[in-house]
Symmetry: C2
Subunit: 208 residues, 2 copies
Amino acid sequence: MQPGAAADEPERTFIETARRAQIAAAAIDTIAELGYAGASFARISERVGISRGLISYHFADKDDLMRQVVHQAAEEAISYIRPRVLAESTGPGMLRAYIESNLAFMRDHRNNVIAMIEIARSAEGRRSYHDDTAVVNAVRALEHALSGFQTAGQFRPDFDPHAMAIAIRAAIEAASPLLASDPEFDIDSYSRQIVAIFDLATRADDTP
Amino acid sequence: MQPGAAADEPERTFIETARRAQIAAAAIDTIAELGYAGASFARISERVGISRGLISYHFADKDDLMRQVVHQAAEEAISYIRPRVLAESTGPGMLRAYIESNLAFMRDHRNNVIAMIEIARSAEGRRSYHDDTAVVNAVRALEHALSGFQTAGQFRPDFDPHAMAIAIRAAIEAASPLLASDPEFDIDSYSRQIVAIFDLATRADDTP
DNA sequence: TAGATTTCTGGTCATGCAGCCAGGAGCGGC
DNA sequence: GCCGCTCCTGGCTGCATGACCAGAAATCTA
């Protein structure tokens, strides 16, 4: 399905699969709570109730663990967002559904999103996940969809889909730290505002 | 001028002031190159050509250094952006000048901006700079300006200035990692696109 | 010049980290 | 019972870090 990922299945035991998922889940919560730098093997294993060594047993190294975390978090997000977007038929409808479902998923699964963003940020310098990270893919997919509906005449023809996709993703991702630190922050209200902003920004001319 | 900052001047020598500025400047470049985590005292002092101990001599601890870095970087950015915004008289004009001058400053002083964002991000968990950090202040100031011109009728009356300010800042800050990692990224083109997006999103109804 | 003060160096320390490893525990097959 | 395998523990190593410190060097004072 996804090119470049999981070329050869490593033949995993039931327990191994379960442990990997369990450890990755704990890593997600730990990263969300303490940031990428604070998510040491010691901290993660403590949360699960296992020894530090067990993480090294089930994962080749920290990169391996982080790849699993991103995969796991992205999987859940995509399976939530995709059907909601595909249920729409028009470009503007899909864009609205995209923004709304992204922010709704964030509201209900904050840790997953924080972890993804945190990893993407912290791994930025090195060549690692950055290339096919969920966040980067999200921009690409969004850009492609915008471009398609733009040529179909459902969006204003004179915006750059790449810049628009970046701005939309940025507005979505900006909600993450606010959710964490600002108790006043109303994500549902924010969602409506962002939908309105980008509806106006992408709307095709109605009055020719 | 700025409430809450620099309550008591610590009576600094000329050399001390110069060294602090020099070390902070090196820290900015180091953070921009290697990220917050990679900016150790050893790395920073190496860049300046001094011993590690000298940083500890001039700064109480790492937080003290980071506060100086943010202060120094923000000072420069504000002195660049403020006059360009104030040169405009209308709300839309100021918004355009705000976005343009922010991105232009980023283009020409990438390291300052990267360092500010990196510090704000990495210090997020702890209670440190986050409260009166330049980034947070930037959102507040922008929100206030938007709100003012909105009640003056120069902007669409039915958007939330807070959400709009967050979206604008997010679009501006999203340019930072792209500048660093994507050689294809054209920040001037991006600037025009973002100006257009938020002009459409804030524009008052012309056709009543 | 002599002494005091500021500025600076490089070594040392405790801490926290990822990864490695010797061995133990549990459990199935035979 | 006892091998063989998977699963797991906790100690260890080597490394990087921020902070501390004793004292050297430079600069100023008188």
